[in-house]
Symmetry: none
Subunit: 195 residues, 4 copies
């Protein structure tokens, strides 16, 4: 009966949705959410304005799904072998990956930090259970510091976070001057090459 199979339609829908999300992400990151029109997103995605609404009920929903998908990507950079235990090499790899990720996706990080600053977004992040990711990461890093005989592992975890966020902030705001690779080396030195 159907001129296209269900699979074909599903494929089309997924591709389109992906395309719209990508277009929106790029524009949101560069211009800020409220300065981007649905028209522009459609143009960037190569479709018509109206079609966006076949996939997202509103600009807000589009934003929400975008954040959700972005967080999903974050998961990929963490806990490579899934055993919940970080080896020294994995820790080094993690730090390297964080920095690489940052360097490759500077606009996306800008976008995410922008959102994190907004009260409304904060509530949403909580709903999206960002804690699940962070708390898991938390324990693993705490365990790492414990196993490697750091004094005061809990505070060290906070410091580790502080440094990573500080790196992101500085690099995002000042990518040309900030010596990210040098700083990365120092961080790896501090946390993975104990004397």
């Amino acid at each position: 009966m159907s001129p296209r199979t269900k699979e074909q339609y599903t494929k089309i829908r997924e591709d389109r949705k992906e395309g719209i999300l990508n277009a929106a992400l790029e524009l949101f990151a560069r211009q800020g959410v409220s300065h981007v029109t649905m028209q522009e997103i459609a143009l960037q995605a190569g479709i018509s304005k109206g079609l966006i609404y076949n996939y997202f009920n509103s600009k807000e929903e589009l934003l929400n799904e975008l954040i959700k998908s972005f967080i999903d990507h974050l998961y990929e950079y963490f806990d490579p072998d899934g055993d919940g235990i970080l080896s020294t090499e994995e820790m080094e790899y993690f730090i390297e990956q964080q920095v690489e990720n940052l360097k490759n996706n500077i606009d996306y990080y800008k976008f995410l930090y922008m959102l994190l600053m907004q009260p409304s977004a904060q509530e949403m992040m909580e709903k999206l259970q960002l804690e699940v990711l962070t708390s898991k990461m938390w324990k693993m890093i705490g365990t790492y510091f414990l196993r490697h005989n750091f004094t005061d592992p809990e505070n060290e975890t906070w410091i580790f976070h502080t440094i990573l966020d500080g790196i992101a902030m500085n690099y995002v705001f000042n990518p040309d001057k900030y010596p990210i690779d040098k700083i990365k080396e120092l961080v790896i030195q501090k946390y993975c090459k104990p004397v």
Copy 2:
């Protein structure tokens, strides 16, 4: 006819302007610039919509002056005696002040970080010569690290920045859980209480 001197008028104008800026700052910080209407700012400031335009030519100009005034405030927390040389006590005082300032003005920092993330704002910050502040601060801190025999003073300056920004980020995003005072102690320990 006029019972007021020119000075009084100037005073009134400045107070009004200050009131409008305060109103705008509070609302921008809580809701994000584009979600705040001129009407709301007028309401918050206790004046009429139209009057704002006697003091600022546009919403954008209001935003610019707000950032400018905010940066002016930042200067106050830095270099108390103006000699360009930081003593150990002044360094400790500076760190303490930074943290206090952050704790007392959490919404304002949110606002500033939000702005820093936006490309357009970045250009504007450059015009506002934020570098004047930072470069001065830069040298002083670099000198501080040099005088106190830190290895690699230049990188240490970057690390110092990284840590301060990381603290701000973490505290702004997670004020309840982040152990800001403990971290502050550790930072002071690291930079002001050399063993």
Copy 3:
């Protein structure tokens, strides 16, 4: 290739059309024409949006055919033996039928009255030659009043209409409280049980 005869195809087409009309009628009556989307009609009819356009060129044409078909139904309740002469029993039956029809199709009457109120619909009704029905009915009822010695048969016809429409209005607007059966009895008394 084709296992179906032309007649079967015609039958299928008519059934589909009927289904679409029924779906549309129900939705139009409950929600008002302009609040019903083609999508909803398709859903209610259990088919796809696009298929509707194989049977009707536009929403407006669908509406027109709906009205036309609805009027056709009205004919069925009138002039059972087709001789153009109403007996007392036929008049009573007619009144009974009108009331039953109203009770069974309250939403449809709402819909029709809604349409009658709209200037555009009025023009269309004229095109649809509703007068053919009404004028025929007119004469028959006029003749009825004449043959049964009512004073001023012409005005009585208008009054008869007035009462029937008034019953419909009241019942449609207030089905729970309006004593339609009692009123019906009184009307039958007045027009079919002369003293």
Copy 4:
């Protein structure tokens, strides 16, 4: 302080609101609510589109207030001396007024009947306490029939309503042919000139 007095502003606001309501009423009645754009209403009222939103939050609110104001007008045609008792002359005057009102405001009645047919509007009418008006009217008319020795006063009240609504329906739908004045005479004869 104020360049216009509070009274002046109030006056302006009331006049404008009235003007918008009038414009909307005329257009709604002629074209049906959903076929009238806010732009058209503004044009008809001689103002800009945006200004309507200084007075009404949405098209729906405009519609609600319109109905509310229309119902208020209905009150004016009823119970002239407010004693709750209808004399024969007042009953005759009431019938005359109803018919005159109908003749002078045919489009408005169309509009009101259209709305009454819509389920959503019905709920709203209930909120607007149309019953207050009708129930009061109800009792007065019931009392009238009781005092004038009509058999079965309660049913007579329903019949009276039925006839009035029937007149409105017929006249609204067929103003040129419907002999409203003759029918009016017959109604007055029936209810006010007992033999």
